[in-house]
Assembly symmetry: C2
Homo-oligomer: 212 residues x 2
DNA sequence: GTCTATAGTCTGATAGAC
DNA sequence: GTCTATCAGACTATAGAC
């Protein structure tokens, strides 16, 4: 019963934490670019600077690395939407949400691409979350937005598609980064320009109509 | 010199055309879901109903299948933007463009995901097209949009980011299809709702300000 | 804890019978 | 043209020395 392989969850040494982080960082790099099936342990080993068997000392399998990444990602991914305050000023709340999402794309583009890859592949590992936790959260916030519209504080929109629009527009700058930069050319700050553009776009969309 | 393997480009029989199409269809299915590296010839063979060696009778390599798909895709992918008419009515032209793009997402979602996969992977096979043909076309159409804005026919926007927004919003419904449907639940027609939503969004964004 | 060596499987591609 | 059989290399994962 010498079950010595898996590292103890508690009381990890400094080196263990450092190696775990190195592996997860390298795995994020490779998974986000090639997807789960396209990624190889050889690549992750090379990027992390560790040997291939050593990877499998810290994680029982390739799948386990991917799961670990997805879990930590999803934890923080929905925070901006959760923070949408029903008691706040409607337009301010929505614009804040948009900019928090855009900041996530700017600061964590690989995480965004990891998520995009998972969805493109049909979301085999997170379908439950999509139809469960995510749908519940979205339905709840959509109700908040609808209430704002009905009260005449913002224009009437389809709340679900408003949220889809925010996701699409903000994540695009991370997921299609190479295309954005290729088309813009040098001497551009995509995220700064996007921030202005999206503020303008949603301000005009949501301005309540004069016939209040 | 019995170079019998590659099928002659001209005068292909009916069966040859049918098999080629079956292979490309299967390859599109697999590549669009798993990306180039994640896709396997075994999968493509199974989906197409042909044997693995038979695949390689019609195409010299896995790479050749992928290239063939990308080329036919890119040919039609930019047509809607090319059709943007500088002499048309500005808002009508832009809304038509949006709906043509949305129709492409609805009718060719796998092609959209194939393109998304290629960009996510860093566009290794189409970087030249992005910085060349695509950038040229976008710069040209951005100038048209800027001229419309300067003439007061539509509101002032950042033309490049306006186009990015259109791409992001329309392609989102193909690329993130499973997420959209998971969140909406049944009894929804995502593309019909998206059509209305995007019309509203861009109509409000582009309405020229009163202070003409 | 980390390594070398390797087991066992899957991969893209080829050879050769029919 | 299409198949079975098969190659060499890459793949995930394990064994065992240190």
């Amino acid at each position: 019963m010498n079950d010595h392989h898996p590292p103890a969850k508690k009381r990890a040494t400094r080196i263990q934490r450092k190696n775990r982080q190195a592996i997860l960082g390298a795995a994020l790099e490779v998974f986000s670019q090639h997807g789960f099936r396209g990624a190889t342990l050889d690549q992750i080993a090379e990027v992390s600077g560790l040997s291939k068997p050593n990877l499998l000392y810290y994680f029982p399998s390739k799948e386990a690395m991917h799961t670990a990444l997805l879990n930590t990602l999803l934890d923080t991914w929905l925070d901006p939407l959760r923070a949408l305050d029903p008691d706040g000023e409607p337009l301010t709340e929505i614009l804040s949400y948009i900019h928090r999402k855009l900041d996530l794309s700017r600061d964590y583009p690989r995480e965004s691409r990891l998520f995009a890859n998972e969805i493109l592949q049909g979301a085999p590992r997170i379908m439950d979350l999509l139809t469960g936790e995510l749908k519940t959260l979205v339905d709840e916030k959509a109700a908040v937005i609808r209430a704002w519209s009905d009260a005449g504080k913002i224009a009437q929109t389809h709340p679900h598609h408003l949220l889809f629009s925010i996701w699409a527009l903000t994540q695009h700058y991370a997921d299609f980064d190479v295309q954005v930069r290729a088309v813009l050319g040098p001497d551009h700050d995509p995220y700064a320009e996007a921030g202005d553009h999206l503020t303008q776009l949603f301000t005009r969309l949501l301005a309540p109509s004069k016939q209040a």
